[in-house]
Amino acid sequence: MPPAPGQHPLDPSTLPQPIRDELLAPDPAPIDTAAKELRNGLNHCPKCGSTEVQHRAGSDRLVCLYCRNEWSGTRVEEGFGLGEGIADLQGVQIASGARDIAADAVSLRSFKCGGCGAEVVINTETAMTARCHWCRHVLGVNEQIDNGAVPDAVLPFHIKKDDAVARIRQFVNKRRLFALKAFKDEFTPENVVGVYLPYMVVDARGSADAAGIGEIETRRYTRSEGKNTVTYYDADVWRVQRHVDFTVDDLPLESSAKRGNLDTRTNTHNVINTILPFDTKNAVTWNAAYLLGYTSEKRDRDVQHLMPRLQDQMLSIARAQIQPSVRRYDRGVRWERERMDLKGTRWVSMYLPVWLYAYHQPGPSGGLLHYIATNGRTGETMGSVPVQQWKLVLAALTIGTVVEALALWIIAS
């Protein structure tokens, strides 16, 4: 059995002072983002007390459908100081909504209505609000339950449905000629669905090292060999090493196993990955009322599952940052070894808004689900349009034949 948190196999009092100080230093306190005033599940309008609260499309505000009062949630960036102190991050800090999912957590949850006391069941897999069937109050899942369904923050939709439909139509119109006929016949962008997808937004501080070989050209000359001339190069070979300390602010990682699988042979999730990033600085504290009228997907990955992906992306960022410092090696650098040391990370779970259009292309082993996705904040659109293979092959062969005929004509003449 693993020791309880804070327990050590050795008695710290028997150890030298510096080691004892380090062992007994307090663990980083989790950032508590739970909204205490919403705990009873009722999102009351602060003015009239009604629970008929909805997100006002195109803004970050909530509106009361009863008295038309409008207000907005606190930005988590300022509310919990998430934009500060990245250069001093130590260890792994996890916000309360990004905590590990309990192994026995279930999606179907029953909540006591704060209005009348009735038990209302909500399937947190797909919905975060329900109407009490007795007193008609709207209940939201606001408490940070242990199944990962409630994040620390939510970034409300800015792009309205009409706008998303227009963007998806424009995207497909640029890809019609070789598109699958069935896809074109069934294309109805009005069926686009607004989905809040789960992400972990990470601030990190790290140190990276890379070592390799760089070459600088010293001379270039040509020699004639038979009928051809060949270019030769002389170069100096250098052993190159770099060390970089850096911080990263708001790196988004998919916290759903399904969405995080970017294997383009079996799925098209890479197009949803492409519409990142979001303006996560504007994310507001969780309130289930933002999700009314949209669907959501639940997080199923914990911090430990996403750590390797963070390491990988941090290494790539480090290599990109190092690149300007090796410009003098004009024949390029062959990096051979690298290392990443993550000094400190801060994890916040968020629901980020995506408009999704899906088309299922039948085929062997279940076919392929093609997505066209629009970023619900920036409007960036990316998608996968299924191809009519025979048409594209025929066009390619035709072009190849014409070019070949031209080539033969040039050779003959």
Partner: protein
């Protein structure tokens, strides 16, 4: 016309067919796209060291390749041996 030029001209047909198929397929399916986090994330470099310690170890004479063998200076996502 020498034999190399003839071969190049003959290869143009198949090459343009394959090239057209590949470019169109990519334009429709976008399988090569992903989040460009190296460029699109706010990164602050606190310190960068190393250039002063670079040292020359060898000289190459009369090589035919224009770049260092295995050049990966721009391929940031290629993972390497751990140090």
């Amino acid at each position: 016309m020498d034999s190399d030029a003839v071969l190049v001209l003959l290869a143009l047909g198949p090459a343009s067919a394959v090239g057209f198929y590949w470019a169109m397929h990519r334009h429709y399916r976008n399988t090569d796209k992903s989040h460009a986090f190296e460029r699109e994330t706010a990164v602050e470099v606190l310190s960068l060291t190393g250039p002063e310690a670079d040292r020359k170890v060898d000289e190459l004479r009369a090589t035919r390749s224009a770049r260092v063998q295995g050049d990966n200076v721009g391929n940031h996502r290629q993972r390497l041996q751990p140090m």
